[in-house]
């Protein structure tokens, strides 16, 4: 049976180049390398894309999804706002800064993009259950997407996750498993389970090649929303690293198709110091990533053994970018800076990205005069504990003018 996944034609190993037919494969049978979806890309114009729906399916010809995907039951993620961040730019001494605010997705993180693509591919391949190991945002997205499509979900998370992310997963009513251990422990369990359950699609394990392609839509949207132009610099948070790698791929595909002019862009990566294996590898000049045990409030980025780490290093070095990491204190401070200047409440990952933006400007690695985009991948409402201690909650006053004057009269 030939799978109907749009213009996708094959899977190719990124390590050894071996090509195989489309299917529920995720690691090369020869060398264990990750597999990449290959396409027979169509001729595509700006008008073709603009005629599509205001969600990621406007780019369906560039994704491994059936041609009729826009008419199926999906959460319709994407086309989130690209916010011109003049006040933050001024504070940081930058000429032009944009925030791709992916909190506008159905479950308030970029994960809705990748899950929508994974679900479409999984259904086409005959899987009956949508599953994942997650640090929270993915759990939300999988549980919601499965509910919308009317299939069972199985979501696995570390038990010590933020309570907001636990509740916003449980509400959708799928099978919900909390595990005593780190995300890397949960991930290993999921990898072993994926080998035992033939009809379970673990979105980020056994259908990962398709899933990861969803992040290209961040690159597509940024380019389209800038007026069909690729920004000179982009700062992306790194967990597994797939998002950063796929944004770069999205830019390259748009340029290759002639949808934007060929230009140079530089890709920068952001990690929390308490889980910074890719930043450490970059600083040390390594081309592989040594796993670490995460210890940071930025739990959505707390992957100690990031699958795409080596490819992040490739992309960042090829484009002339850089990778840096910031402490938990800097993360909390950056969350407040973004909220205060732009009225955007980011989760800890957004704090990591803004913190690293500031750090790279201070060290001169990021050009303040070059047009820059940063990714805000998730919503601050999901990580309230991170800012609870830092954000002052005022004492209540009596409902009298006198009391107000006494407390706030000077302000």
């Amino acid at each position: 049976m030939t799978l109907q996944l749009g213009n996708a034609t094959s899977l190719t190993c990124r390590e050894c180049g071996k090509t195989m037919p489309l299917g529920p494969l995720y690691a090369c049978e020869d060398c264990f390398g990750p597999l990449e979806v290959g396409y027979d890309l169509p001729r595509l114009t700006r008008a073709d894309i603009q005629a599509g729906p205001l969600n990621i399916w406007r780019y369906a010809p560039l994704l491994p999804v059936p041609a009729d995907i826009a008419s199926r039951a999906t959460t319709e993620p994407g086309f989130t706002k690209l916010v011109r961040a003049d006040r933050l730019a001024r504070e940081l001494g930058m000429r032009r800064l944009w925030i791709k605010d992916d909190t506008g997705n159905p479950t308030h993180s970029f994960k809705d993009r990748v899950v929508a693509v994974a679900l479409a591919a999984a259904q086409e391949m005959g899987f009956k259950v949508l599953a994942c190991p997650s640090t929270g945002n993915l759990a939300n997205a999988v549980a919601a997407a499965a509910a919308r499509a009317g299939i069972r979900s199985v979501v696995m998370v570390p038990a010590n996750l933020e309570r907001q992310k636990i509740l916003t997963t449980a509400v959708y009513g799928g099978t919900f498993v909390t595990v005593d251990g780190t995300y890397d422990d949960v991930n290993r369990l999921a990898s072993e389970l994926a080998g035992e359950r033939d009809d379970w699609a673990f979105v980020n394990v056994n259908v990962r090649p398709y899933y990861a392609e969803g992040s290209k839509t961040l690159g597509f949207e940024i380019a389209e929303q800038l007026g069909w132009r690729i920004p000179e610099q982009i700062v992306v948070p790194i967990a597994s690293g797939a998002q950063l790698v796929k944004i770069d791929k999205g830019f390259a595909e748009f340029a290759g198709l002639g949808l934007v002019e060929q230009s140079k862009w530089r890709v920068f990566g952001a990690q929390a110091t308490g889980c910074s294996p890719v930043s450490q590898a970059f600083a040390n000049g390594w081309d592989v990533v040594k796993p670490v045990r995460p210890d940071t409030i930025a739990k959505s980025l707390a992957i100690g053994n990031p699958a795409d780490g080596p490819y992040v290093l490739d992309v960042v070095r090829r484009t002339g970018g850089s990778i840096a990491d910031v402490s938990d204190e800097e993360v909390v401070d950056a969350i407040q800076l973004l909220a205060r200047t732009q009225g955007i409440f980011a989760e800890t990952a957004g704090g990591v990205t803004v913190g690293v933006l500031r750090k790279l400007l201070a060290s001169g690695q990021l050009d303040p005069d070059a047009e820059t985009v940063i990714i805000n991948s998730g919503d601050g409402l999901k990580t309230l504990d991170a800012v609870a201690a830092a954000v002052g909650v005022p004492q209540a006053i009596p409902a009298t003018l006198e009391a107000f004057q006494a407390s706030f009269g000077e302000r």
Binding site: Y26, A27, E29, R188, S191, A194, E196, Y211, A239
Partner: protein, 91 residues
């Protein structure tokens, strides 16, 4: 004996078996005896230079061997070894 869990993509070597047993020793010795029992499987785990391939994760009793001594990690009697493709995950 040591209990070794085989990932799906290597089960063509083990006649479909998801678990196999071998003698204790260092991880390098375990892989060598595994390859003797199931010829060719060693080359899937180790590259031409004899190093663990970069997209293979091996756990001995839940411990990632990259945190221990790599191929020199001791695999004691009764240990559980899991081989898992590293290409998984993403928050």
């Amino acid at each position: 004996m040591v209990n070794l869990r085989v990932p799906t993509i290597l089960r063509s070597y083990t006649g479909g078996a998801a678990e196999v047993r071998c003698e204790p020793g260092t991880l390098r010795e375990v892989i060598k005896s595994l390859d003797a029992a199931y010829p060719g499987i060693g080359g899937r785990l180790l590259d031409d230079g004899g190093k663990l391939r970069r997209f293979v994760n091996v756990y001995v009793n839940e411990e990632d061997v990259r945190f221990a001594d790599g191929l020199d990690t001791n695999v004691p009697e009764g240990a559980q070894v899991s081989i898992i493709p590293a290409v998984a995950g993403g928050a």
